[in-house]
Symmetry: C2
Subunit: 507 residues, 2 copies
């Protein structure tokens, strides 16, 4: 897709591909991988998020909301979260794989489709394993799925190294291509080999199987911690020159920022869609019911569903504004690290839980007794989704020279504004939660008020921030004893700035 | 997203945004619209496609498949197709709008979210109107939705013209900016004004309302035909210099190719997901049922669902390969015209019907009597989805100097291969359909054979094509009488090529 730089070259040719981008090198059959990767990101993000649907389809009636119901709901939420993180892990492996491959051809495109098909089977096999935890076949099928994914990825790597013009420039020009290939294959096949062992163990000793599968997740961090300890004890060894930099699963190694954005956009888009789907599915009144229950008045029939539409607008606004915050954040990110990617996945997992919050709050009219719990659940989900965005920001600040643009670094002109944008949802959801503790009778009102107030807050954020900062300066001026002016006003202003370095520049 | 051109500039910096792309101009607060447009494309494509779900959820049992059931199914399919085309129309209007706007800022991003929210309400209001065709409120709500969308878009246009640095370079540098704005607003508000009239008429005379709403779709083509007639009668008038080229809704005006690709990717991705969702939702056996019906054997329980998994793999392969064909086609497209966009929308509408085909073919084990009809329905859907891709190709060929890269134009080296790729699905689905007419008892076998044969066909396509062309040449050589060689072999070969200009160059 052409960025603003290329579109300025040919302003009179609307819709044309920029000439600098040669999609098809007819002589070699190679193509840009850009569109294929965007398609893969869309597919995987939707797969990960639609696994919330079994949770929302769990019919909860207040009379039956006993312990077994609570346990069922908690189990399904846990399965959703684990499935989301597993699919996100597969997506992350896919991004690392396609940092090795630079260009693609028809065969690689078809191999990628096979990879997608195997990854889409992960949620099903995982759900099967969870439903039948002590049946060999459940564990076996999940492990076979992981092994198949690894095999297809190894095939892709082998094909790319066999036709070196397909490799990324960094590896193609490397002098140690065979070593690179060995390292890449080792990391790709690590998970599948562990799952193969787990499948073998599932025939006679389940706990070992589960331990081996869990180690697929934790092994990279364990091995990194082990090498860190070794460095401390033995002394830092020189990193080998041919180490493939992005293929170490290190939390500090860069992720492809564009793919993180594309994956996140897919999650936000499908969540917004799931909200409207609930409306369309349930809220078209049946003509016979309208005739019998509402005397033929469609207006009355729709009015009875009023809370649903209110809940829809509020939930859509929430999803949209969380996307807007994510968008604002990543505008200022230069490079995404593995830690940021992990925190982003956790944030997206809770964004995926928003249809659950919508379903809860839209049931107000039917079950007014549960308002308090439903509002609290919604506040909790929104808080978790937004606080992990703040965590991404914090992780970026810890290495701000690498990861952030100068404008938003600590002390930069846009720093405070970005912090304000990110803090809006966590603060308001916490406030709403606290308010429901004090004024539990008005919990619905508080929730709807928050849902209306936050979009207005975003629109007026810059203005509100300036007012707040002006107020802060005024207070600081009052607190400080008045000093006589010794020099020209410019000097006084400069010295004032020196004295209050913590006050950011006005935005 | 960085294309291959920019990534070659900095091979050592993985994951970094290319320096040529300045997302944030901190002084003006302007941002690239790229990510926001990608998000909008994902959202709208998913919205359009999930409207197939009410159709797939129509429970059809063979005993009840009488006329009323057929009518219900046909109505729902028609509603799905119309909803898909309406949402695609709204998406097309959105693409035209953001060819006026070059860069965005925070306010425009928020306004775009409001635009998205109103567009997502279109399917619901349309379904309501169709369910209650003679109730004023139904028509009224749909028209209000369209008017609101128009109002938000007009607001976006007004805001962009108020801050000219946000406009696209073509318009910003134009000397007739006010005229441009008037023209853009006129086209944006045309549909909403017609719907306003329709809303007024809905109070006392329904047929006029429906006529006015239908005219929103046909008016651009009617007015284009009228101006064509006028040109023929009066004589061609010079196009005015300040005419905003892409804002005439002309079928030959360029669409943004990247946005067409993004929208299409969204549709393919959600369709693939809907397939796996059906599997996950229904195919996890209940532990109690496994214990009682299958004697505790999970393998037996899964085996009973075998046809579903077979149908899943076949359907996923179909969706994936249709995407692959679309991807191959658009690699060679330089510029997408309005006609290509319209045909693409029709192709995508039928791709969206594939979950219905899957649902039908996966029910084989339960209702073997209906196999024939189900196989035929699936063949028909696949044929329609793929034949419209051939139509896109044909529309492109009609203006090949503008729309296609040289390699695939008629007579180019890749022309025959592209045609073969595009023709594979239409031909095989037609063949399968014909085969079921002759061998109706083996319809299931034929269908599954086709589903396995086509992926293999794609993998071996180049080889098969070379064999076919070699066979053709051989036949041509046999048919032509032998001529004595008069000169050096090179001359003979050259004269042979001159004599057979229709044989394309070997691929």
């Amino acid at each position: 897709m052409s960025g603003p730089g290329t579109s300025e070259q040919e302003p009179s040719v609307q819709g044309d591909s920029p000439p600098g981008r040669r999609d098809e090198d007819a002589g070699e059959g190679t193509q840009s991988s850009h569109r294929m990767l965007g398609f893969s990101d869309a597919l995987l993000s939707i797969i990960a998020t639609v696994m919330i649907l079994p949770v929302t389809h769990t019919e909860i009636s207040p009379e039956q909301f006993d312990r077994s119901m609570q346990r069922l709901l908690a189990t399904r939420i846990a399965v959703y979260l684990m499935t989301f993180l597993i699919v996100t892990g597969a997506w992350a492996a896919h991004t690392r794989l396609f940092q090795v491959v630079g260009k693609i051809d028809d065969t690689l495109a078809l191999l990628n489709l096979a990879c997608m098909m195997t990854i889409t089977f992960l949620p099903y096999t995982f759900a099967l394993m969870v439903t039948f935890p002590d049946v060999t076949l459940g564990i076996f099928l999940f492990c076979v799925c992981v092994i198949t994914i690894g095999a297809v990825q190894a095939l892709i790597v082998g094909y790319a190294f066999y036709f070196p013009h397909l490799l990324s420039p960094q590896i193609r020009c490397s002098a140690h291509r065979a070593l690179c290939r060995r390292q890449v294959l080792r990391i790709i096949l690590r998970g599948p080999v562990l799952c193969l062992l787990a499948a073998v163990f599932s025939l006679f000793f389940f706990p070992m199987s589960y331990l081996l599968m869990a180690s697929v997740v934790f092994l990279p961090y364990v091995s990194k911690a082990a090498s860190w300890c070794k460095d401390r004890l033995v002394g830092r060894t020189e990193p080998t020159a041919h180490r493939v930099e992005f293929f170490t699963l290190d939390l500090h190694e860069p992720l492809s920022k564009e793919r993180v954005e594309a994956f996140s956009d897919g999650v936000y888009a499908i969540v917004a869609t799931l909200l409207i789907l609930d409306i369309c599915a349930d809220s078209i009144p049946d003509p016979k019911a309208v005739a019998s229950d509402f005397g033929g008045s469609l207006l009355a029939a729709l009015g009875a569903r009023g809370p649903r539409f209110l809940a829809y607008f509020g939930s859509f606004a929430t999803v949209g504004l969380l996307w807007f915050t994510h968008h604002s954040l990543f505008l200022h990110v230069r490079k995404a690290t593995g830690a940021m990617g992990l925190l982003n996945a956790l944030s997206l997992a809770f964004v995926g839980g928003l249809p659950l919050a919508y379903q809860q709050t839209s049931a107000f009219a039917r079950q007014p007794r549960d308002e308090l719990e439903r509002v609290r659940l919604s506040c909790a989900i929104i808080f978790l989704a937004s606080i992990f965005q703040v965590a991404i920001w914090t992780a970026a600040l810890l290495r701000e020279a690498e990861t952030l643009r100068p404008a938003v670094r600590f002390g930069g002109p846009e720093h405070t504004f970005m912090l304000a944008k990110l803090a809006l949802y966590p603060c308001t959801s916490l406030l709403a939660f606290a308010a429901t503790c004090l004024l539990s009778r008005f919990s619905t009102f508080i929730f709807h008020l928050t849902q209306i107030a936050v979009p207005c807050g975003f629109l007026l954020l810059r203005l509100l921030l300036r007012l707040a900062l002006a107020g802060l300066r005024g207070l600081q001026g009052l607190a400080r004893p008045a000093r006589p002016q010794r020099g020209p006003p410019g000097e006084a202003a400069a010295s004032a700035d020196v004295q209050s370095p913590l006050l950011p520049a006005p935005c």
